[in-house]
Assembly symmetry: C2
């Protein structure tokens, strides 16, 4: 078991990574929670086993949302907040999020806003949530106009990561998380990249020792980056490598055709191509990235999934855009992405064209 420290304006917190810690969470959480009633939020997948057991241990209610992105709305924020009020929460209460990115995001918005802020504990149950969304305090829900448009920065008081929970994940969900893991390697950590290449068999069969080491490494990277730049004024933006085109592709296809990881995978291919085209990214890096994505069965193209015009229009509406221009995260080398690059529109269009047209 390791503890990784995250610093935050609202006070630091620890990410505890440990095999089997999910079984002892009630004791850990209630030791810190004081007398105020806790509330567990989960979904129909994580609620029946983990969520309700934890709630029982805490003497709390377990509020369950339907699984999937369609629950990430202000209407569900309201329902969850109402349930928490009904359970008697006060300003000393703790909200415990047991689930993947959707549960974590919704819980983050509820904890940020209910009584103008109560305590939040993340118990991420998917690979994506464990290595990414549970750390760093970003939380948001969707609007009809787009994803993650309404939210807050809300630091948890603790994050508990149990890699054993990954054993039961559906394959596509696990693969989706692997795309973010690969992103860490490509954008921030060449050694992780090499390990993912050399230990692919162990990773894919979810060997717990290998997986735990990979999760620890990713959590440490994320913790380091968000500690240095919590509110994404600079450096933190590197975590969005591949996400600009990835998000646009998800939106253009109605969030149904691609998993988040698949879309990010295609987005990484586009970002890498842009970097090569502007002369920043060495050509060999594109080949290395492509080989790794391919070996894990992740796509680096989305042939015919949308038109270039659709994707470009959505790129211009990215949350990071200012006055219609989007700053790009590009690779200077394998394991070294840098944010804030200005790219001519035709170069972007060419890269998007390519990922939409290429025979993947």
């Amino acid at each position: 078991m390791i503890e990784i420290s995250v610093s935050s304006a609202a006070g630091g917190y620890s990410v505890t990574v440990g095999r089997g810690i999910a079984a002892e969470l009630a004791a850990r959480i209630s030791a810190d929670a004081g007398a105020s009633p806790a509330v567990v939020i989960a979904d129909a997948n994580t609620g029946p086993l983990l969520g309700r057991r934890l709630a029982e241990g805490l003497g709390a209610i377990c509020f369950e949302i339907p699984p999937g992105e369609s629950s990430k709305t202000l209407a569900w924020v309201e329902r969850a907040a109402s349930a928490a009020v009904g359970a008697g929460v006060d300003r000393g209460s703790t909200l415990v999020a047991v689930g993947g990115g959707v549960v974590g995001d919704l819980a983050g918005v509820v904890a940020a806003t209910l009584l103008r802020g109560i305590r939040l504990v993340h118990v991420p149950t998917t690979l994506l949530a464990q290595v990414d969304s549970a750390i760093g305090g970003k939380a948001a829900v969707d609007l009809p106009e787009g994803k993650n448009l309404v939210g807050a920065f809300k630091s948890p008081v603790a994050v508990y990561v149990d890699p054993e929970l990954l054993i039961g994940l559906p394959e596509r969900e696990f693969k989706s998380g692997l795309a973010e893991v690969i992103k860490y390697g490509v954008a921030l950590d060449e050694e992780l990249f090499t390990r993912l290449r050399d230990r692919r068999a162990e990773v894919e069969r979810r060997d717990l020792e290998t997986l735990t080491a990979v999760v620890e490494r990713c959590c440490a990277i994320k913790a380091r980056v968000v500690s240095a730049d919590e509110e994404e004024r600079g450096e933190r933006a590197v975590l969005n490598y591949g996400h600009t085109v990835g998000h646009a592709l998800e939106a253009a296809t109605g969030y149904t055709r691609f998993s988040h990881g698949e879309a990010i995978s295609v987005g990484m291919a586009a970002a890498c191509a842009i970097g090569v085209n502007v002369g920043l990214t060495p050509a060999g890096v594109e080949e290395q990235q492509r080989e790794l994505l391919d070996s894990y069965g992740l796509p680096f193209a989305a042939v015919g999934a949308a038109t270039t015009e659709q994707v470009l229009a959505l790129v211009a509406r990215d949350k990071k855009a200012r006055g219609g221009e989007v700053p790009w995260v590009l690779l200077e080398a394998l394991g070294r992405a840098t944010p804030g690059h200005r790219v001519p529109p035709d170069v972007v269009a060419q890269a998007v064209d390519r990922v939409l047209a290429e025979v993947g």
Copy 2:
């Protein structure tokens, strides 16, 4: 025209109080707003004249909500946020709130959460908003379970207070604001108390010179208190003098029978009685407070409006409650309230009894 500085964790801002400044707001706001599109939010009262004129000057849309507390919901947050996204807001955009407490609260929640935070300017148009809700960065909307249960701390970048806007206010709305003005005198500023007593005729006929001086004074008090304790960890709680029973009374009567100010007025009577009963408040103060409220036609009793049990149950659910116990703001002297007092339940019950039973 005076400028009052407020310090805030998110960076300080100025409250500008000046007669007639509403007419020149577009120039003032656009000078700071940069290239990103602005959005005005108003209600059906403030939109048609002030809101739309300002929006035109800013090249912005004016989003209008139905007037009244029933618009303070997450559903209206979503509609306003969607409209803003439709108007092309980005992270550099400014949301301008033109209205009373409801518009300011809704706009505050939208500005705090849209794209995880955009700029906010308050143009308060009611007495209550000018002297209280527009300053200090508290924003919240209601849940079916109660008022102001979901929100955020969101500092504006500027507050523009034009006392001339008060001339057109309906009498009951103006009186409601006066209750908060009197609260400042009773709880924090004996000199203001004296002025309100001695210049009552001028205040009541809304003499602009008198009114401007009173508004400036109240803004300065609020600015001082929230600068010292933005997130209400201590001192800021004194601003809630009269609000614990006041809020409970509003809730018990479905928010229809009493204006906010009328409820706070009754709440001040209850808080003062509690203070006397526990030996903290000198008996003469109760008489002075009662005389001032009475002279302004504000109630210090709410005979038969609710049962003591109803009010006490709602008091226990106050946002400030921890483990069912509410810290009370009580008077040590005229103009000097202090927060955090523990009061025996029977003393609270007795005071509530009295304001509900007394022949006012």
